[in-house]
Amino acid sequence: MSNTIDTIKQQIEQNDVLLYMKGSPNQPMCGFSARTVQAVMECGQRFAFVDILTNQDIRAELPAYANWPTFPQLWIKGELVGGCDIVTELHESGELKTMIEAGTTEKSA
């Protein structure tokens, strides 16, 4: 198994809310990443992110591991939630906040 996959697994395990995106939350480099990170930020909890434009090894290997060909990707509690379309719809229905809160409070309890 490659080191990159180990890194990815570690990131997903160690971060309850993790966003793989293009650019950073303050400077997203793609409209889909921008919309997704905006939705996650509006939920008001801490989250981790990985900029795949500056981590090309992760960009290359995560799609096959995740069975998800594109970015952004939002992971909560080790599970892939989805990309921009899903995160946006979950945010609009209010479910995203609930999911993120559930993901982050369990740990601190």
Binding site: F32, L53, N67, W68, T88, E89
Partner: protein
């Protein structure tokens, strides 16, 4: 490209109540004319399937195209009941230059 995507989806998902594929490549950076698409698809087959799995179903059907020319595919999959309530899919965002 739109015809090809539609053919592949029609062959794999049955029944399809509504399928709408838009080429949104003009909204994005880079010269590629077949890079960004948006798909709205309504089918009974999505009943009881989580959103993440619906997308993965479609990614699997279109994996050759996604590994090739297509850079982004917005997917809005609904069951007929969901679509009846909704009647339109969200707009895709504009490009911010990061397609490199």
């Amino acid at each position: 490209m739109i015809e090809l995507l539609e053919q592949k989806l029609q062959a794999a998902i049955n029944p399809i109540e509504l399928i709408d594929i838009q080429n949104e490549s003009h909204k994005h950076s880079g010269p590629a004319a077949n890079s960004h698409f948006k798909l709205v698809i309504v089918s009974e087959q999505f009943q009881g399937v989580l959103p993440v799995k619906r997308h993965q179903m479609i990614y699997e059907i279109l994996k050759e195209e996604l590994a090739g020319e297509i850079h982004a595919l917005a997917i809005h999959p609904y069951t007929p009941a969901q679509w009846a309530k909704k009647q339109n899919a969200p707009e895709s965002p504009n490009c911010m230059g990061g397609s490199a």
